[in-house]
Structures are given as C-alpha cells and as structure tokens.
Symmetry: C2
Subunit: 576 residues, 2 copies
C-alpha cells in the first residue's frame, strides 16, 4: 500500500473511533471516555460504562454508528479551554492536566467532542466498511493499579470487499488459534491459579515437542554443536557481572533469598555457558566451541500481554552460544543463518522476513565494537543475498542481532530465530583464548536460536498446520477402528503390531457407531483411520482413510507400515 | 558383624577420640574442645586451635597418640562439679549448661578429662589399629552462625588387617570419586560463586545424561507412560493445597514475589501433574494414566551437606505419577518395581537393597489410609519374593514408600529408585474418576522414580565404572591417532567415515608423539584407540587398541563399525 493510502486509512479508522464514541455516548449516558486511537486494521476506544458489555451489545452500537455515518456530519476542529469543557470526564481531565496547556485542540462531530490532535476525515460519511469485533478489559493507561476500562475494538476498511477479505482471514485465524486447538486436541494447558504464563505440556503436545527437540539435537550434533545443561537459578551477583541486573532487570523475576544471598531465575543462558567455557584455558585451536542447550528461562511479562504459548513467562529457548575468534565470526554467522533456514524449511516455513536490529538506547560497549558486530551481520546477509530490513535501536543491550520472522500458512509473521553478535559479555566475564602468538585474546560470542522458543514455535506450528501436523510430527499417527465388536480381536492385533513398530497408534474399541469414531478421529486430526470389518479380517488388511477424507481402500498392514515409515524418515510435510 | 562386636568397636573408636584429644591438648596448649563421638569406621573430634591444621600435622598427633596407647592408661569415670572443672572450656561450658545438672559424669585418662557418659575401653592399650585421615572445618553444633572449629577425622579397627583393608577400599573409592573424575574427564562443574549445589553439565557429561534420558524415555513410552513437561515455579497457594508448604517447607526455596503474589521453585512435580490430570473428566476406562517427566526440582540443603552431584540443590528427577483405581494399585506397583529392576540391570547394577519406609511423625492422612498404602507396598515385595528391611518413620509426609539402594562396584550403597503410594494428595486436590457406576471416586496416586535423579544416578554410574563408561554410554567412543603427520590425511578420512555413522569419535592430529596420544586417550578412558600408520594406510585398516590395554591388531573399518554398532545396540556393559 502507498504511504498516502495507508495514511488515509489510518485517519478514517481514527474517525471511526470517534463515531463509535458518539454512539456509545448516546446509548450509555454517563459514559466516561479514555482514549480511542487507530490501530492496525482498525481502531478501539476505552470507556468506563455503567455496566459491563458483551459482544451481544455491539450490533446496537454498530447500528447507531451507521446512523451517524449516514447523517454525514462534519468533523470540526476547535481550540478550547479544555478543563472546563471536559469537567465531568475524569480521564480526559487527567490527560489535559498532563498536557499542561490551557487551550487544547478538540474535534467535534454531531453531539460528540473529543480531546484530539486529529487529523480526521471531513465528514462521517467518509467512513466506509467497518465492523465492531470485540470487547475486552484494559487498564487505564496500561497500569494494573488504575481502573479497568472496557475497550471496544473495531476494524475499518476503504471498501466492503476489503472488510470481507479481512473477516474471512480472521475467521481462518480463529479456527487455527493455538489456544483453541490446544484445548480441543489436548496439547497443553495454562493454569492461571498456579501462575499465568507458565505452560503445562500434555502428552500430545509433549510428543510433538520431543520430536522437534530430538530432531534439533541430532542436527546440532551433526553440525558440530555440543549439548549442555545448566541450572535455572544463579546468584544476583552473576547477573550484575553480565549486565542483566542493570540493563534487563524489568524482564527478570524478583529475587529469592537463600542463606542470606539473593538468587534469581535465569532470563538467559549465556552467563552459564560462559562459566563452563571458563573452566579451562582454551586455545585458538579449540575454537569455535558451540554450546547448545534447550534452556528454560523465565522472563517477567505483564499479565495483560500474555498470549497462549506465543507470549509466556517461562519458555525453553533452543539456545546456543558460539565462542569464536574474530576471524571466525562471519563464517559462524553464515552457518547459523543456513542452519536457521534449514530448520524453518524442515518444518514447512518457506517464507520469512529478516530484520537487522541495531544498538538500543540502553546498551553496553563502545560504538566501535557495535559497528564491528553490526557490520559482520550485515555482511553475511548481503553475501547470502538475503533481503532484510533494518530495525533501528532494537538490538539487545550487549549486541546487534538478526531477527527472523516466519510467515505461516495464512501469511502472518511469527518471531522465530535470532542471531546476536556480542563483544561485551566476553569483556565483562574476561572470556579469552590463547592465540597462536601465545598471548591471551578476547573471544567473541554469538548468541542464537534457530527456532526461537519451543513454546512460541509450537504455537506457530500448530496454527501453520491448523493442528493437522505432518505424519512425522503427529502426536497420534493412526487409529484402528473396528466396525463392530466382532472385529475387536483383529483390530487389537493390528494395533499391537503397529505399536510394536513404534508407531504412535490408538485403538478405538468403544461401543460407538463407526461414523462417530471416524468423526472423532477427524476432529483429532489423526492422519490415518484404519478401519477393520469382515473383509479386512478375512484378507488381513485394513481399509485406510486419510485425514483429508481420501480413501485408500484395502491395504496390507506391512504396506501401510512402509508408507508411514517412509514419510516419517523423509520428514514429509504434506503427503499422507 | 555381631551386635556385641560392633558395640565393642564403637566403644574403642570413642576412646580413640579421647586419646586424640589428649594428644592435641599436649601438642597445642590452649586448645578448646568441642565434641568427639565415634562414627562409622572411626571417630572425630572438633577443636578450636591456635592455628589451622593441615594433613601434614596429623602424623605428629598420631605419634603422640601411640605414646598414650603404649602407656596403657586407665579410663576413669567420675561424678564432678563440671562447670568449675571446665571453667576455661567455653564449648564444654555451653554443653554443661544445656544439661542443666550440677554434677555430671566425666571420663579421665592420663592428663585429659572429658565431659562424657561413656562407655570406654578399660585402658588406652586396648585401642588397636587406627589412623588419622583428614581435617576439615565444622561449625560448632552444625550452626553456620557459630564459630568454625577444626575437625580431625580418624578410623580405628580391631586389627591391622581390617585397617589395611579399609584404607585400600578408601583409596579405591578416592580414585573413583565422581568429583575428581568429573574434573579429569571434563564431565561437569559446580560454581560456588554462582550458587552452590547447582550443576553445570559439560558436553561429555551431558552426552551420557542424554543417552540415559533417551533410553529412559523410550522404555517408558514402551511401558505405557506418557511424557509431559511442567513449569519450575508455581504460586505458594498451590503448595499450601498440596501440603508441601506446611510439611515440606524447610526443604523448599524461599519465595519470590511477582505482581504481589508469592511464587516458589518446585521441590516436586506432583501438583503439576495433578493439574494436568484435572483438565478433563477421567473415566475408569482411562485409568491407569501414567505421566512421566524428567522434571528439574529445587530443594534447599544446607551448604555443609552438599556433595558433588550426589547431594545438590537442583536436580532432575526421572519422575512419574500414576493415577489409578484402588483395584489397580498392586499391579501398578509391581510394574514399577520390575521397571526399576530392569533399569538398574540395564546400567550394570545387579545388587540392591530395598527399604519399606513407614509413616513419619509429620504426616497428613488417616492411619487407615496409611495402613492400606503400606500394605500394598509390602504385598508386592512379598509376592515378588524381594528381601526388604523396614525403615520406620522414613516415609514422605503424604505416604509410605519403597526406597531402593544400588550397590556399586566396590560395595557402597547409593540412594536410587523410590516408589510412593499416596491417598492424600488426591484427597487434597479432589482427584477423581467416574466409575463404572457413574459416580465419582477418588483416584490413587503412585509417585515414583526408577533411577532417582539424573545427578545422583550419574554420580553413582561414574563411580561404579570409575569413569570408564560402557561403549554405548561413553561420551567419546573412539579416537583416531595418526602415527606421524603423513598419516593425517588417512586418519581424517577414517574419522569422517566414523562420524558420518554417528559414532562419537575424535581425531588426535596434534604434533605429539604417539605414546603421548595413547596415554591421553587412556586417561580420558576412551574405549577404542584407532592407530593409523603406514601399514594401516596401505591396507585401509586401523590398528585397534582397547582401553584395557588389549590389542586387537589390524581391523577393517567396516568390521570395527559393526563391532561398535552391535555393542551399542545390545547396550553391552563390559565387553569392548
């Protein structure tokens, strides 16, 4: 979209929020108004209302909005003594006081006036296709200690076709929502009561995770990584040395006290790998050394931003730290980028975006070393002819990074791998190697993940496949379904035979109708339904029905096993 | 040993501690005396001395002790006004005050009098073979806030042969000490600075751990367990419900505060598995359900009792919780006992002792349910004809248990698997299933490990094999050693070929003499040294030398690969 078009759309969305506020004002007299900005795809407005709203209340508001739009009222901008004008609006009053100006700009359409810098459309009639989508609680100014307001979200587009397209996309996304599928497919749970943002992986989700982890470990070993394990806590002192305590503290958990010494849960694995590196004198001939760990870290996130497995408080990074010489940096980054590409492709992500994030405001280290590190990352991307965007100031406090965003099956972007070059941590911890010259030199560290975290990657994978995982990853690969009770013995035999070959298989010998069992297997997104009736018993076969509805007809057990085995071995992603 | 003999030995050891105290008194005037009991194999005494002692000081003390023994002085028991007698002995004074009696029993031999109830040998001459073994710091009364005294340890036996035998065993144990081997073989490290009792698994130790874990997981899947993952923290509230906060708190870490709510690191995995179980209504047909997790827990231990990997603060239990119906308890316990036996045998532990631990003083639940649970454990042991001892009061607060102690290669016992039956946790958390009658019934939980913890089991395994791990577990299975530089190219080829077959192999192409390389490989306890010289290059073979010194002569690469492959597949423990 051109910048002009996108600016126009944003203005229209902002105006829609004012129209919504006017509608709310007329439907809920006494409403207090918070703020109402345009956001991606639409707008929202925060209200304090006499009663809690539900989605059922939205059509009435929409109706009222349509009246206001049909009336084609002009948006009028004025300079006003705002404190007087908004005397009965406590949230507006607070905002005005913060502005510290006597006269402020307000916008008025019809009977509604809002504190607002604009711009707006000329008349309400310019607001085209819109829809109110949801209502949610939102703390005033995002502060959990302030009142909880009600936020109504809406979307708005230049034409009905765009809105329809958007709503279709949203409906598809909702069907794929990993929080919904997580429950339906019994993959994982979260327990607010025991602590928000902490993930419980149920057997089926854990099976997928383990398959990913095993694949990840084997691939890392093959590429010269060593796998290690480190603890989940360390003395605060260690985080002071690393700089986390000063530069990353708002993301860290609060400390606990043991024997009068403060400890804290690890938000990162790096200092632990440094301690291991430093247990011996390392020579230039030992480098690069690559420590990989599926390391579970804990980072504080405000409870309001937590989202299923995609944004959590405890997560397992597929982490590694490469200790290398300066002359090895580029080759190592190149290998990591290629490994990340390989991993993404292995799981079916063919498209992604790369961002180069540079020095943030709060950072350690000299401009020189930042330039060197940023240069190394940029060089590799350019040499590999990878398109990338620069994200200024979005690096980590100890170094710049490449962030990779995976594009899923319906075009959404997910935060994936990250590659960070770091000269600072080695300096702070005195991480050295003995060079060919017999002198000590400072090592360079590359921090990296090639999936991101198990939690987020699994959320992304679940939505990418809408829960219908490829055969090699499916928690249950096949279900054996006897047509009637008299086929149970044979079905059990088949089940045992497949299980003995390490296939993940279930037997559905409930006294239910076959159609019901097939429907349940379909809902569980199990790739293969193996139906056993008279003919199958007689011929020692099963009738194979695929998750996608296709029927393979009668298949011998050994042929079925070979089929699955070959798909698993090749890590086939789409074929069943 | 008969009880009488063992009583006699203990008395003699106690008397030896008095003799040592007398020797110290005469060598270090002004010494203040703590306590000096008999312990397993010997005795100790705690002193406050004018200067710190080292092992080099022990021979002089031994010499003096021998003089006192040669003098054959009588031990005389008297009733004394002790406060006056021990006026210049502050530690004794404290003890006497605690006794709260005016007159106390003292024992005197030669010029040394000690506050002591006895009994003692008649004369110092009865003290036979003894040796002082070490000196260490020990807090007065085990309290870290009181002064640190110096503790001298000694051993004493009825005859010289027993002492020699003992010293030989100790020397063997010292050679096998996993803390020593951990460093020499680069298996793991501990970092007091970052927090005592927290383990860092280096690549080689982590490789062994991973092989154990993979084996463990596959075996559990095969036996109908489901693998899950749970977080490391939960709100204190959850631990109040489980009873841990009341009955297990001294073993728990101190809480941390997040959003004004207290959280604590998990000391056990059970409540987490319960939360997962409770996400659905379970039917009698779903049971038993077996959740297995390699769950890392944190338990507070006083820093003084920490010991390498054998006693730590953070450790990974090979945990599982079985949810079952009351009629399934015995069958499940039997399966667990057999799984534990299978696991121990798989790793080379053929001998073990079983203990049945009963209700402790601090416990939850009715006597009835404790009796039922204890009965179930006892029944299984009896039916399986397993010998066991009863350990009264050593159960967990929620139930009785079977503890298994592994006997290692030199006869020492290690805490291994544990099996606990629990009616209490299900009651506290309302853990139910719908029975055949359509009514809700309370489930029973079995808590169990079949190795214990990864840390302690690995410590035990390391000492059992003295670091020379079986081929399937060896962190490095083979090292390729070119005799001279001109054999490097061929050696590299062999190395790459073996690596491609997923063998854990190293190439030692340093410019060192071959003997040096063989010596290093021997020290690293690598099973196979593959030597490549002129003849080997010519014939496309390697000359295979085993870790035990045996030479296999020239072997074709494919034959060597087959040999290793077959030993790995069969999980052979001794053959190379």
């Amino acid at each position: 979209m051109s910048e002009d078009k996108s600016q126009k759309l944003e203005t229209m969305r902002h105006s829609a929020s004012h129209v919504m506020a006017e509608a709310v004002q007329s439907l809920y007299p006494g409403a207090k108004f918070g703020i109402g900005p345009a956001i991606e795809d639409g707008f929202y407005y925060d209200f304090e209302l006499p009663r809690p709203l539900a989605v059922e209340d939205l059509p009435a508001i929409e109706m009222k909005m349509k009246e206001i739009i049909a009336a084609d009222l002009p948006f009028v901008s004025e300079e006003k003594e705002a404190l007087k004008l908004f005397a009965d609006q406590k949230y507006k009053t607070e905002l005005i006081k913060d502005l510290g100006e006597e006269k402020v700009t307000v916008y008025r359409q019809g009977g509604f006036t809002d504190l607002c810098r604009g711009p707006h459309v000329k008349k309400t009639g310019e607001i085209k296709a819109f829809k109110l989508t949801s209502v949610a609680g939102a703390y005033w100014r995002g502060d959990e200690k302030r009142p909880m307001l009600q936020r109504i979200y809406g979307v708005a587009f230049a034409k009905q076709g765009d809105l329809d397209e958007y709503l279709k996309r949203i409906a598809e996304a909702a069907k794929r929502d990993h929080r919904k599928l997580g429950k339906e497919l019994d993959l994982f749970s979260l327990h607010e009561d025991a602590g928000p943002g902490l993930v419980y992986w149920h057997p089926k989700g854990a099976t997928v995770r383990q398959l990913i982890e095993d694949f990840w470990k084997a691939e890392h070993r093959r590429r010269g990584y060593d796998i290690v394990y480190s603890p989940h806590i360390a003395k605060v002192h260690l985080w002071e040395t690393s700089g986390h305590w000063n530069f990353y503290r708002e993301n860290m958990y609060s400390p606990m006290e043991i024997d009068d010494i403060q400890y804290v849960l690890k938000p990162m694995n790096c200092p632990f790998h440094i301690l291991m590196y430093k247990t011996q004198l390392r020579s230039y001939r030992n480098l690069p050394m690559r420590y990989a760990e599926l390391g579970t870290v804990y980072r504080y996130e405000r409870s309001g931003v937590l989202h299923g497995l995609a944004r959590v408080r405890g997560f397992t990074q597929d982490d590694a730290h490469i200790f290398c010489r300066p002359d090895q940096i580029e080759a190592e980054i190149k290998d990591v980028v290629e490994l990340a590409q390989f991993m993404m492709k292995s799981f079916g992500f063919e498209e992604y975006e790369m961002m180069l994030s540079t020095r943030p405001e709060k950072a350690v280290g000299s401009t020189e070393s930042w330039d060197m590190a940023t240069g190394a990352l940029r060089n590799v991307l350019e040499k590999l002819k990878i398109k990338f965007q620069v994200d200024p100031g979005e690096g980590v406090f100890y170094g710049p990074k490449i962030d990779v965003k995976l594009k899923d099956a319906i075009g959404r972007l997910w935060q994936g791998p990250t590659i960070q070059v770091d000269f600072q941590m080695p300096e702070r911890f005195d991480v050295n190697y003995v060079g060919e010259d017999g002198q000590e030199h400072q090592s360079v560290m590359i921090h990296r993940t090639v999936l991101g975290s198990m939690e987020r990657f699994f959320a992304c994978l679940t939505e990418h496949y809408a829960g219908a995982f490829p055969v090699w990853l499916a928690p249950i690969q096949a279900v054996v379904i006897p047509i009637a009770d008299r086929h149970n013995a044979y079905a059990t035999e088949v089940f045992e035979q497949l299980r003995a070959s390490d296939m993940r298989v279930q037997l559905d010998d409930r006294s239910e109708r076959m159609n019901m069992k097939i429907r349940d297997a379909q809902l569980a997104k199990i790739p293969y339904m193996l139906i056993a009736g008279d003919k199958e018993v007689e011929n020692s076969t099963v009738s194979v029905r695929l998750r996608n509805g296709e029927d393979l007809g009668s298949v011998e057990i050994s042929a079925f096993m070979e089929r699955v085995d070959s798909l698993v071995k090749s890590k086939e992603l789409s074929k069943l």
